[in-house]
């Protein structure tokens, strides 16, 4: 599905810009995309290096194992296919914790580690497993207590009350996550039949 959408975006974008006479702009967009993605990579690369280092300390010291054991009860029901006390639960939890506190940059390396440890459990390496989909659904619905970027932006624009939208955001994002878990459950059951 991602692959089709990827193709459609390019075709729709290029055809529309040619028809509407924006060929020069699109030419530039294609060329600058390479630069933009490299800049983004340089932004996240050191952060990933940092957190993978810290996470490895936590793995070797047994902290992550300990965390997995205490989380099995909480996260277990959401991820019935993950064996008890499996390390992927720790990565999933670390990713969720980082997101909740608005540490988006720390969330990515934990999320990628979670995916690779879920891949070890996956029976068909070319297909997303049920646990992976549950995880990405929770992740993309983005539960955040402190939307740091938005608060910073609102302060920058001189808001009289920069945190006024925090409660509204928390309600909306919680509903999105609950709905996501619900849809994930329904779709998982449907695909199983």
């Amino acid at each position: 599905m991602v692959s089709k959408i990827w193709g459609y975006f390019i075709v729709m974008g290029i055809v529309f810009s040619l028809l509407s006479g924006h060929a020069i702009q699109i030419n530039e967009t294609i060329l600058t995309s390479t630069k933009t993605s490299l800049e983004l990579l340089f932004q996240i690369f050191p952060v990933i290096a940092l957190w993978l280092g810290i996470a490895h300390i936590a793995t070797l010291s047994g902290l992550l194992d300990k965390l997995s054991k205490s989380l099995t009860k909480v996260l277990g029901p959401l991820f019935p296919e993950i064996p008890k006390n499996h390390i992927s639960l720790s990565y999933i939890a670390s990713n969720i914790i980082a997101n909740v506190f608005g540490l988006g940059s720390a969330a990515t390396p934990f999320g990628l580690k979670a995916m690779s440890s879920l891949q070890e459990l996956n029976s068909d390496k070319n297909k997303a497993s049920r646990s992976m989909i549950t995880f990405t659904t929770i992740n993309t619905s983005g539960v955040t207590i402190i939307p740091t970027t938005i608060i910073a932006l609102r302060i920058l624009y001189g808001s009289t009350n920069p945190t006024i939208t925090v409660v509204a955001t928390l309600i909306a994002t919680s509903l999105a996550t609950i709905a996501g878990i619900f849809f994930d459950y329904l779709l998982a059951r449907r695909s199983h039949e």
Partner: protein, 167 residues
């Protein structure tokens, strides 16, 4: 608060490592080394996603479609664009949020609504492409569908909650 979370996490992990008497330095280096392998798989995915999303956003095709919708809606075009583009591009929606703040004022109802929509979900398409791409999975089954349905709920809830709280 988030200023304390990061140092607290690092401190906690290092203290625990000290207590367990592991070689902290070697552990950090070994873990950190893995980042090279990780970014090698990330980069092509990042490039592919940025290329395709930027072509769509810069072409003005979405704006054209949204303009056809707007006469039927009470919300201004920038906010509608923000809602529709939220799962597709984080950068494009952040730029739109800046536009809304400048045009209506940061404490205007539309700005509050835009802020809530921006914060209620993550950039779904980017996360899905990156996470599954990093482990080489092409068949994502119903992953995108589940996430996008959650986004629809999140954005609808944002609109509803903002009308209840702020208008």
């Amino acid at each position: 608060m988030s200023n304390y979370v990061l140092p607290a996490m690092v401190l906690g992990i290092v203290l625990y490592g000290l207590a367990k008497k592991i070689d902290l330095y070697d552990a950090f280096i070994d873990g950190s080394k893995e980042s090279f392998k990780m970014i090698l798989t990330i980069f092509p995915n990042l490039l592919a996603m940025i290329l395709s999303v930027n072509i769509l956003v810069e072409s003005g095709f979405l704006e054209f479609c949204i303009q056809l919708l707007v006469p039927f809606l009470k919300i201004p075009i920038e906010v509608v664009s923000l809602a529709i583009m939220r799962p597709i591009s984080g950068n494009a929606t952040l730029a739109l949020l800046n536009t809304i703040y400048t045009k209506y004022g940061v404490d205007h109802f539309y700005s509050l609504l835009g802020s809530t929509i921006q914060g209620c979900t993550d950039t779904t398409l980017y996360v899905i492409a990156l996470y599954y791409g990093s482990i080489g999975i092409k068949n994502t089954r119903y992953a995108l569908k589940a996430s996008l349905l959650a986004d629809v709920v999140g954005i609808s809830a944002s609109i509803l909650v903002c009308y209840l709280l702020f208008s």
